[in-house]
Every structure is written in C-alpha cells, then in structure tokens.
Symmetry: C2
Subunit: 504 residues, 2 copies
C-alpha cells in the first residue's frame, strides 16, 4: 500500500472531515440511519458505549441525592403552551399525535381515524409535563427539594440531521429539580454542570470549558443556562451538556407552590439539566483518527480483545486454552469501578482483516497470541493509541494492564487539551477576529482558527458579524479573571470575555 491509501478510513480528516465522521461510525458499526426520517438505529457496539456512559452518569446523579423516575412520552398541547418562551422555542420541531386508531381507507391501505380531543406532543423535553406533576407533589417546604432524573427518548423534528449529533429522536437524561430558594436552585444548576464536566474530562477524556450562555443562546424559558463546551478536531465547538436555572418561570406557569416555615405560600425555584447520545458524537470527533474510532479505556465496551493465532486445527486447542486462561485472569483485574471487559475473537477470518476490524472499533488493547508466544509465556500487545506493538511477558501484562489503560486514558485527554490550547487565541480587534475565522485554504474550508477569547459588551451588536462569519458565542467561561476589557468590535467597556467559535 502506498502512503495515500494507508488509512483504514477514507476520506481522512484532512480530506473531508464531515464525511470522515460518517465513515468512522460506519466502520465501527456504532449506528446507522433508519427508514424513518432523521431517526437513527444505535447498533450494539454504539449502544454498549451508551450503557457505559449511562452507568457512570447514573452513579453520579445518585451520589448527589437524585432518584430516577419516569414521566409520560406525550405532552398535551395546552401544557406545552403554558410557558410562552418555552413553547415558542420548540414549536417548529414538534411531532404531533392527532389520532389514535387506524381504519381501512376506501382508497386502499389504512388511514388514521379517531381524532384526539387535544393534540399530544411527543416530548421534546419534559419541563411542562413533569412540572404539572410537581405542582401536585409539592405542598410544603418539607416536600423540598425534589431531585429527580429520567432516562428517556425525546423527539425534536430537525430538518438537517446527522448521526448522534442531531437526530429527530435521541436518547438522553433530563434532571428536573425543585427548591425552596433561588440560591439552592442555582447551586444545583452549577453542581450538575460540575458533574457533567467531571464526566467529560475524567471518563470521556474530553477537556471542556464551563461557561454561561448569553440570553440569545439560553434554553427557552430559563433565567440562566450553563454548559460545557468542547473543541472537536476540526476546531469547531460542541456543546456537550447543559444545566438550566429556570428561576420561577415554570413554577409560575404551572403553579408549583409551597408553604414556607411561616405558613406563607411561595413559588418554588426549578432547574433542569441534560446530556444525550450527542456525547457519543463528541467522543468520536474528539479522539478518533484516520484508522477509525478510538475509545477512552474507561468507557470502552471491551478493554481488550484476544486474538488467537494458529496455523492448523491441531494447534487450536492449546492456543485457545491459553487465551481463555488469560481472559479469565484479566477479567479479575479491577479497572474504572468494575472489572476488565475482555473478548476473544476466534472467528475464521484472515488475521489482518480481523485486526483492522478491532482497530476501527477502537478497542484499546489487542492481545495477539500464537504458539511461539505461548512457549515464551508472552503476549503481543497492540495499543490503539499508536504505540508500537510489543511482546510482554504474561505476568507483566497482568500486573501492568491497569497502568497501561490509565496511561492511554490520560494521553487521550492530554492530546485533546493540547489541540484546544494550540487553537485558542485571545483577540481584541475585529480585523484579527475576521482573519481568525476565515479559512486560509479554499480547499479546506473547514480549517479556521479555533476558539477565540474576546471581550464583548452586548451580543446584539455582534449579530451581523457573527452571522457573516458563521461564528457563535459559545459561552462566557465561569472561570475567568475579573479584569475588564473592551468589546473587540465596538470598543464599549466589557466586563467579561466569551469563547467565540464555529459550532456543531
């Protein structure tokens, strides 16, 4: 093979980043489009990754006092209408159930009959239906806080969809909490943002910036939205999780009130927060390379795959027996809150093809075992992060495997952080800003500067410029010095800087 065709994924990231993304998903068998417009099928390898994410996040939610529950898929139209900004934000993308029966159509086939008295919206998010229940459950300050999460599917009828990143139906979790005071609700909003940041950095090996959204970018109906933003390898930003302080807006719209210690009736304060299968898209675009998926070991559905190598059926039993023993031993090793997940791939398939399947799926470790290795009691260890395969004594593999996986996990985080740092720049004037977001090379329209840190005074002043450059204000980082500056465009005094970027 010559250099140009040496990658397992075609096109490469440099050649066509969006198409590379689709091909990585296909090669790793994570998901595919379905016959239903905009809806995807999450295939077993992709779903196992989601299950691992769920398990960790669910543990974090429970450790912070939350419980799971389940609320209806459907929201009566009148409930959605109760919060004006909220319904306005979602009206354009609502799937509406209008009938509840099918009957033979005189023209052939079946047609919907039995119209509903009131149309039902397939939940795009559940503030309004959950709030209606909370209004019944909350009577007194003693009933607060309510700390509930739900794992669910939601539907937003998007016109342009993309696997994991933007689909009509997606899976997510949505936390919905009720508090007696404003302070407590804000504390909860930020606590869950911290949980998301910890998950992104410690588990997904994806560095994120915590920040507040500007009013234009807030969740419809929220007083404050905070988010974690990550940089993908094409230097675009991806919002990976959001947490909303809803003030008393939904409490007023839905009459969530409680009697305080003095017996007076007060409106409660609510929050909501969520992450979705979009995280899988973020993970793919943060770490994968031109050979396919790379999985952070802590979340990999399989940490290692054992590949038995033998020439003939006579050699097979001894090799397989050795492999099974290694599998059993590895499965005893504790890693990332569980034990190692180890597969043996004994399919009758050419060795090269088999190896590349696991490379493309992103399995962190490939352990090749042939007859000669057994004689030496050693294993050929291939690492998905590009280190050269090396022969390791079995015992040394067993005692070092956790360290190797940890090292891979940390290496992935460092590489992603370095990329972000190399492509983040402070900018204080419009000429630089414009140049930063203008692709240098017409053949690579995707490649631009990255993240710009720039002070601004009023987002309304910036809309024309941002629209022209297709740049958005990602967030105002929470962690920034208090040194004021001037708006890079208008020169007005500005208290804070924001991250500007092109975004998914």
């Amino acid at each position: 093979m010559n250099k140009a065709t040496k990658t397992a994924i075609s096109p490469t990231r440099a050649e066509d980043y969006p198409e590379w993304y689709q091909q990585v998903i296909k090669a790793a068998d994570l998901a595919e489009s379905s016959p239903v417009r905009g809806c995807m099928v999450i295939k077993p390898w992709g779903y196992a990754l989601w299950e691992n994410m769920q398990r960790v996040l669910d543990g974090m939610f429970k450790a912070t006092g939350h419980q799971n529950a389940y609320f209806p898929l459907f929201i009566p139209l009148s409930y959605l209408e109760r919060e004006a900004q909220h319904v306005e934000g979602f009206a354009k993308e609502c799937a509406v159930v209008t009938h509840h029966r099918l009957e033979p159509d005189p023209a052939g086939g079946l047609r919907p009959t039995a119209p509903l008295e009131e149309p039902l919206i397939v939940r795009p998010t559940s503030e309004t239906i959950i709030g209606a229940m909370y209004a019944k459950w909350v009577q007194s300050y003693r009933d607060l806080p309510i700390l509930i999460n739900q794992w669910a599917n939601v539907v937003r009828w998007e016109m342009r969809t993309r696997l994991f990143l933007r689909t009509a139906e997606f899976l997510w979790q949505e936390g919905h909490t009720v508090h007696a005071t404003r302070e407590e609700a804000i504390e909860e909003t930020l606590r869950m943002l911290d949980a998301y940041a910890e998950f992104a950095e410690q588990w997904m090996a994806m560095p994120v910036i915590k920040g507040e959204k500007t009013p234009r970018e807030r969740f419809p109906g929220a007083d404050m939205t905070v988010a974690i933003e990550a940089m993908m390898q094409d230097r675009k930003a991806l919002q990976a999780g959001t947490s909303h302080f809803l003030g008393q807006n939904f409490a007023r719209a839905q009459e969530i009130r409680y009697q305080d210690v003095n017996g007076e009736l007060q409106y409660a304060w609510t929050t909501s927060w969520g992450v979705s299968t979009r995280l899988i898209g973020a993970l793919i675009m943060t770490h994968s390379d031109d050979d396919g998926l790379i999985l952070p070991p802590k979340l990999a559905p399989a940490h290692a795959v054992i590949l038995p190598i033998y020439r003939d059926n006579e050699a097979r039993p001894a090799v397989l027996e050795y492999c099974r023993r290694l599998q059993r031993d590895l499965q005893q090793v504790m890693f990332a809150g569980g034990t190692l997940r180890v597969e043996i791939d004994d399919r009758d398939l050419r060795g090269g093809e088999k190896k590349w399947q696991h490379v493309k799926r992103g399995v962190p470790l490939r352990l090749e075992i042939g007859q000669r290795d057994i004689e030496q009691d050693a294993v050929m260890v291939g690492r998905r992060d590009g280190e050269k395969p090396a022969l390791m004594p079995r015992e040394s593999l067993l005692s070092n495997v956790v360290q190797i996986l940890d090292e891979m996990q940390q290496g992935m985080f460092r590489r992603a952080l370095t990329l972000r740092e190399e492509h983040t720049r402070t900018i204080d004037n419009v000429a630089d800003f414009r140049a930063y977001f203008t692709p240098k090379d017409q053949d690579q329209p995707e490649i631009h500067g990255g993240f710009a840190l720039a002070h601004f005074a009023d987002e309304e002043d910036l809309q024309d410029l941002l629209g022209e450059l297709k740049v958005t204000i990602r967030c105002i980082p929470l962690d920034q010095s208090d040194e004021p500056g001037k708006c890079f465009l208008t020169g007005k005094p500005a208290a804070k800087y924001a991250i500007f970027a092109k975004a998914y």
Copy 2:
C-alpha cells in the same frame, strides 16, 4: 383501634380487590396517573424496583448471548402494513403522528401544521421497523443468528387503563432474533420463556406455568406464542411474559433472506419476546397484603431501613453513630448478586407513622435502634412478612441477615404456590366448570374457583361458554402428561388440557 380498621390499606383485599390494588400503589408511592390519558408516572420507589428487575433480566439476556441496541420510536404506516395479521392486531390502538410543527392558530393558541407525507405510528411493538433493518443486515448464513434486545417505551391506545397492568404507554424490553433454521428459532423462543420463568420464580418469588397460547390468543403474526401465567391473590390469571416463534411470516413480509452454505437464498426464521412494567402489577398482586406492598427481598430497592429512636437531641449523636456503623457493616454483606441496600430514616416524624410508611412501602426489614438497644448491642428486627419483631444481637443480625432474607424470599414463593395449588382443579364436565367460575357470594363477585385444568378439542367450540362466564384459555401447559382425554364440553377426543381462568 378495632379489628375492622386495623389494616393500613383500606379497603382490604376481601372488601374490594381492585380498589385495594390502587390503594397499595398509592400507599407505597409506586406510581400515579398523569394528566395524559392512560399514561402513568412511575415514581422513584416504583422506578427503583423496575431498575432492579431490568438489571437482572439484562444480565440474563447477555448471559444467553444477546446484545442491546436501540431502534426508532416511530414506524412508518406502510411498514406496519406489511404483515397483514400484525397490523390488524394493533390498528385499533395506534397513536398516530401526522404533523411536525405547531403554528399560531387564528382562533388563539397553537395548532399542528406541516403534515407528514406518511403518518408515523408510535411503536406498539417493533417487529416491523426492526425487521426492516435486519433485512439489510442479513446477507449470508454467517450473519446469523442475530440476537438483539431493546429496552424501550411503547404505546398501545387502550381504552380502559390501570396502573402497571394496562397503560397507554409502558416500558418494556423486546428481544428480536433471526435464525437460519426453524429448529433454532423455536429453541430460542423456548429458551427466553425459560429465562422469564426463572426470573419470575427465583427473583419475583412468583410461581408461573409455562404454556402455549391457542391460535386465538397468539401474538398477531406469530406461528406460536408461549407465555408464563401466574395466579394473583384474587385467583385471576395474569400473563407475565410472552415469547413468540414468528416462523417465516415477518421474514417474508420484510424480505429477511440469507444465502445458505450452498449459496441458495433462504427466508430466515424470527422470534420476539418481551416483558414489561406489567410485571410490577403482577408482583404487587401476588404478594401484597392488607397493610400494603410486600417486596421480594431480591428485588427490593432497599433491603432494610434503620430507624433511630431517641428522646432528645442530646441522645441523637450516639444513636445515629451506632446506626451509621450498622449501615456500613450491612452494606458490606453480599446478597442476590450485589451488596445489601440499607437506608437510615432519621426524619423528624412520629415513630408509628414512620414505621407504617416503611411497612406500606414493603421494605423487608425494619431495624429499630434505641439507647437501651445500644447498651445491649442489639437491634429490634421487624420483618415485613409478619414474623413478630425480635431483639437480635448486632453480630447475630450481621451473620444471619442473608439467611433471613432468603427465608423471606422462599416463604413468599411458597405462600404464592400454595394459593395457586389450593385454587387449581381438574375439571371434566361442563356443570362443574360452570359452577367453578360462578361466584358463590353475590357480595364478592370477584371470588370464584381459580384455575381449571380441562381437556378441550377445539377452542372454537368453547367460545360461547367462555364468553358467558368471562373465562379465557390461559395456555396449554408445556409440562403435562401425554394422557389424552375428552373435551369437557363436547366430549370430543382431546390430546391436551389447558388452564382456564378469569384473567387480567
């Protein structure tokens, strides 16, 4: 209190069984109705029970080689129509999405706009959409078997709903498999029925009978449906899980074909199987009593609750410290594939009220700890299964707690089995059959015989009688002697007997 009001749940089972069921759910805070017709809210205690059920079932599915995946919520109408019997079976209860936008209505409020080209059905079950994907995935015999399960919500627009037992939306798992041969598919169908039976008996402590459904009671589109049937305390039957051998019906309707070893194109053989949140209804009705919910220890969200008892705030720290230490020690104890789940309830609430809350929620063990108990290093152990509370030395509790819980679990199974055996009768003539299913007491119209085992030749002969008595053929038990008999109604020769019962 006098005897008549001594129960925590009113009415009692004897007074009004259906209403007792609703009140048990309310008192245990498992679920409640929502403002959306027929849709329920599963509250944290109910959802935690479902999570425990999911964890065990999911482990069983994975241990038998299945993987999880996720398929779209929506099914295009034309896909549902592909299998004629199938669509006929579900047409009357389909929620239909017809529009994908909301716009201001001149009359005020919003109205659905942007009609879909083709209506989408909210999945009542997913054979057709999953089959459409399988048709793409299956090319050769090497691709088989496909063994996939999905955890999902489904919608069946039922007119008369009841919490957990029959709701418009419910949560379930649906396994969908594809095989090269008829034999393999039948084997899979029965294997999953066995898994359900094992789960019901070993985990839910609910004895079940495995049997085949008659043609009238089959899943729409199936060649064979097998099910597990349980007896509730009112002697009615409840179908707790079903497994379907779909023959080649769906494979033909959807073109699921594979090239066999000889290179010839063959239709595949498929199965599907599912259990749902209905299992929670079955669990409640099998075990609960007039004081509320009784949970099988293996599935209880909390195995024990510790109740600290102290007179004043001065005594509190020492009592609480002792309780926390006991909690930590208990949490180290392995039980049912995990560690014990132990709560401390230190709410400021009258002791009696607090105790009864946990009785009504069905927590297996209540551990009361007062100052005097601490001096003796002993704990007052209250068991939900009615054994008298007893003072136990702390050490003895720790070393015996698993045995106690196992004993409770087995006791529950035995009681349920005894009830079923006491109310199961072999019947060979119509007079006895009629008497068996006719309530003796007009004040207790619910109370009738129970399960009747009776030979029958052709279910069509029986329809008038069964309709009149509101009795159904539950199943033809798989495990029965081959001794033929005669139809209890017509006297025709009959190869097998069936279980007849009133049913949920």
